[in-house]
């Protein structure tokens, strides 16, 4: 699974945001969710597989953190998707609300 699809799942989006604010253990993350620790663990493994997070073993815990390079790949993937033509259409949506064109 590529980084884009991996990051798209709602729970994983939140996990990435949490880890971006600071590295955490699995239990810390699981405490923020209604799903079980096992489910969170599996999301983390999937994210690790996509190169987006990594685990550092410290004593009996595993500190998960975001991998900056993986995040850069994700950003690149999103940018590659978001073509200029798509961007132009968003600008047109703006123009609809505020009907000022570039050359009126």
């Amino acid at each position: 699974m590529d980084a884009f699809s991996a990051a798209a799942e709602p729970n994983r989006r939140r996990i990435l945001q949490l880890l971006a604010s600071e590295p955490r253990t699995v239990s810390d993350i699981a405490a923020e969710f209604t799903v079980t620790r096992s489910a969170v663990s599996q999301h983390l493994l999937l994210l690790a597989d996509a190169g987006l997070v990594t685990a550092e073993k410290v004593g009996r815990q595993r500190i998960y953190r975001v991998v900056p390079d993986g995040l850069r790949s994700l950003q690149a993937e999103i940018d590659r998707f978001w073509t200029d033509e798509l961007d132009l259409l968003v600008a047109d949506a703006h123009a609809h609300a505020h009907p000022n064109r570039s050359n009126p």
Copy 2:
């Protein structure tokens, strides 16, 4: 399915890009893929369900086009995901390759 997840699927990413460049019929789109027209049609229905595309019936064809407002929602969703903290980590990945910090 929210717009983010809907847009994440690789084939649908390409479909959105194609439609962004110009509106097309289902057959036109399907010609660009190895999967069947039926599969493409189902992707289009899902994208329509997510508010990202719309179909205009013209004779016996259906011209699909991107919905600018839906695209705006998608962009907003992506922006909401991509927090400043995630952005900062990407900047740090840069700093690793070019070790110039903001305050050296």
